[in-house]
Chain length 181, copies 2
């Protein structure tokens, strides 16, 4: 039976932070840097703007035009898709206004993926897959299969999971597994 | 550890068929009955109207005002929620326009449920739960935990799964399990 790899969206496939920082700066003239956003949270940096931040994320188009975090992800996932069932597992329930934009974004950038394997959820303990690639340590802890940590500034100190820095390293991780088998 | 029950939406919690038949009849003057809809498919009954049917389901509000299939589901799920983790697992990916309406519908009728346990998916083999209550035999076959068939006219001949006819029977099924333990 084919094994399955679940893949997170924000900060693994899509550059959510890039758009969030740019849009918040444009709208509210905050002069916030990407590094500041990662080091702390909007809640701590700009508690007075939390409502705008949440409203902005729930705008129907906000997630529609995020940049690919690593354009190489397209080719790597296409290749992994030959051997594994590829699931996309995104914690979308805290931003219910984002559902359709996320779906359309996936269809645009990864048209070869099976939409029956898209999972919009909250806590990823509900996802049944062999692997999960995620930048969130909390989600990897919840998940019951093998977690793979996608490197981002806010998870730099985590050591419990194999770490991948980009999509080339994801490919190498699974190539290595195939050799070990 | 608490066990988990995943629950399907359409024809288990929400009366999708009731609205679909009424709306198609109103819009296209089809005079279709609920029984006809169940016995066959729109594709066979009215292939000439498949496009309208799909467009209608993708209207942002279509799923927002479905009736509860069995109003008793609210009290039963509230009670089960004391002992089990309750997940809502709906195959929404073939109707991506329905996401937000389905979310809002759940929040209205089951405000006590944890939204982190809502799962909008396609194939329910991606759902990790101990039980799944569903009217679709295909989904119960895909699911890897214990399936429970929610009785509907189109699954009347199925014998592979425990069958529940309404939400009182769902409650009794789990009460019986507790006694057996």
């Amino acid at each position: 039976m084919r094994k399955s790899i679940a893949i997170d969206m924000d900060q693994v496939l899509a550059d959510f932070v890039g758009k969030a920082v740019k849009a918040m700066n444009e709208r509210l003239n905050l002069g916030m840097t990407r590094e500041e956003f990662f080091k702390t949270s909007i809640q701590k940096l700009h508690p007075e703007h939390m409502n705008e931040f949440i409203s902005m994320m729930n705008e129907p188009d906000f997630f529609r035009d995020l940049e690919l975090l690593d354009p190489n992800s397209v080719e790597v996932i296409k290749e992994l898709n030959e051997t594994y069932d590829i699931y996309i597992a995104t914690a979308a329930m805290h931003v219910p206004g984002s559902f359709l934009a996320k779906y359309d974004w996936l269809r645009e950038h990864f048209p070869f993926l099976n939409t029956n394997y898209f999972i919009f959820c909250g806590d990823k303990k509900v996802v049944k897959a062999d692997y999960l690639i995620d930048d969130s340590v909390g989600q990897l802890k919840s998940f019951t299969g093998q977690g793979i940590l996608f490197d981002q500034p806010n998870n730099a100190s985590v050591t419990e999971y194999p770490r991948v820095k980009n999509w080339q390293e994801v490919l190498e991780y699974f190539q290595q597994l195939a050799v070990v088998k």
